[in-house]
Amino acid sequence: MSATHTISDAHDHHHGPAKGLTRWLYTTNHKDIGSLYLWFSFSMFLLGGAFALVIRAELFQPGLQFIEPAFFNQMTTMHGLIMVFGAVMPAFVGLANWLIPMMIGAPDMALPRMNNWSFWLLPFAFSIMVSTMFMEGGGPNFGWTFYAPLSTTYAPPSTTFFIFAVHVMGASSIMGSINVIATILNMRAPGMTFMKMPLFVWTWLITAYLLIAVMPVLAGVVTMMLFDIHFGTSFFNAAGGGDPVLFQHLFWFFGHPEVYIMILPAFGIVSAIIPTFARKRLFGYDSMVYATASIAFLSFIVWAHHMFTVGMPLAGQLFFMYATMLIAVPTGVKVFNWVATMFRGAMTFETPMLFAIAFVVLFTMGGFTGVMLAITPADFQYHDTYFVVAHFHYVLVPGAVFSIMAAAYYWLPKWTGYMYDETLGKLHFWLSFIGVNLLFFPQHFLGLAGMPRRIPDYALQFANFNWISSVGGFLFGFSQLILLFVVIKCIRGGKKATDQVWEGAQGLEWTIPSPAPYHTFETPPDPKLIHAQ
């Protein structure tokens, strides 16, 4: 991508990064942009986490102690929006930026200047979003699913800014995925055939197509909201011939694929880490690719399982129940393949492996509750209770978030050139593991016993498990500061990392020096280095 085509020794490149703030503002380097995404994601993770701790503090005991119900609703809404759009998605885009070019032997992303723009839209979007909380009438208070008419006719005036923020972050996601697709389709090194691509690249390719398909639908939904609020249309207003249930259909047509957007790249990460530390090739590479594609396809025909209680016709309920149950099949194949990869390997348990194993166990538990939720009559009891909260937090926190942490530990030596502090890493893992289970496991019981979600205060029989859940929440939340410390420590120095870093690591990114030079693969790698995964 550089103007000059100097073939330089990797350790002595003479067009390194610019100095100062402008390096980050104007950068088109995939590694810089990857780092920006990851730091942005981490700061949003802390902000969204702080909102979660406000929620858990209020729910520590029955009664209203710290905040008013109106503010509580803003907290649940902002927590959801920030974690989904600000923490998890940008983290995966950051990893894609750092890793995809290095994994496929490309010098950079296909569209570097657009890459810069898609990142810098994000801080702008989230500043608007967070600023709504200081506006008259408060910020969004209708849940991250913003069901109409609560989010239209009955919404605070700041909703217009919320809509604008969603548009901007949607544009950012769409540009990011165009970039990923163009990179994977056009920039692969000679010899890097599709079926030789690492699974992280495969899962991101499929994720990027999902994003292209559904982010515009989300943009359409919020545009309809905007028209309903300001221009007198009645998309979601029964008074003018519209239908509030239509909103839910459109939202979840976006929303369910969105859920897989947040988990497919995680599958890719875990499929990279487990073989490394088991010192054995990934079991069933082909079936992993097909399973990912099947999950992506199924994600388009199951959306209404989020709305079993709206009163659909029986045939509709049955169709969405069966389709949803089907997702368990390809997901099961993935889990079985990971277990088979571990089977008869020679395993060691460094921090990335610990996070990856915890991912497999806890994500699968989230999968089990997912199957339970798919059963329509049982869902009448689970729907909109803490059982659902426990379910999706199990797949998103010890699922998606743990995979991101595993990725951070796994590739950190490649990024910084130094090994991270293994003791602190393990401490971070165990505190997070205990914290996350203490936080979310009791929520299954709360939901089954009858506690609805999104309530600031609850009946006395829910007191015990809420107490435990809050303790777990604070433990998990503050444990994340260890991660921050470990990362900063690792950037500043430590034991030098080798090129391969991990004994069992395979793939192009491990053939280049640690830390990865500012420019890599300006000439394509030797095709002999490209192995089947």
């Binding site: 010098p107 995925s177 000679p190 639908v217 939904v221 003018g240 394509p524």
Partner: protein, 189 residues
């Protein structure tokens, strides 16, 4: 560029993907009329269809069967009008045309425009309740203190599934003064 990539290739991919993005944005909007069609077919949400002609009724009256039709009146929380059906329920024979009226009064101090939205339970019956004439087809403008009797002429389709013996027709009344195109309402505004 050393890899087998040219800016040309990227341009093609970007163009195709942007086309897909625009297409999906349009698809989102296309889902709106598509949803209405599905609602009409399945009676989703208890949505009733539009006006049917007089001619379609009375051709075949099922003398063997009696179906109970219940009438309900609901108000949107912002709507202060009095609104209630003249009768609570009616036994009808499928195919025969019946007339029922709702009485409405505007107790407020302003001219107001109301709009009634129909809905039928069970959902499966919605497509079989045919309205020849209904106040829900139009906006209602009432002067302060004015009352009106609003008629509905309807028949139940003889093809109503046998398992349904009772169906409920509900109207929810909305205040649409601020949105109405009615000249008088616009003038007040």
């Amino acid at each position: 560029m050393s890899n087998d990539v040219s800016p040309q290739n990227n341009k093609i991919v970007v163009r195709k993907l942007l086309l897909a993005v625009v297409g999906m944005f349009a698809f989102g909007f296309a889902l709106v009329p598509l949803y209405d069609v599905i609602c009409d077919i399945t009676g989703l949400n208890g949505k009733t269809g539009g006006r049917v002609s007089e001619a379609e009724a009375g051709i075949l009256v099922d003398e063997q069967r009696l179906v109970t039709v219940q009438f309900m009146a609901h108000h949107n929380a912002e709507m202060g009008w009095n609104f209630e059906p003249s009768i609570a329920q009616l036994s009808v024979r499928p195919g025969e045309v019946n007339i029922v009226s709702y009485r409405v009064t505007n107790p407020g101090t302003d001219v107001m425009v109301g709009q009634a939205i129909p809905s039928v339970a069970p959902n499966a019956a919605a497509a079989h309740l045919n309205k020849i004439e209904c106040f829900c087809f139009e906006e209602q403008l009432l002067q302060p203190g004015e009352s009106a009797d609003m008629p509905i002429r309807f028949f139940v389709d003889p093809e109503l599934p046998d398992s349904i013996t009772k169906l409920t027709l509900s109207y929810t009344l909305y205040d649409i003064t601020g949105k109405s195109d009615n000249a008088q309402a616009v003038a007040i505004r």
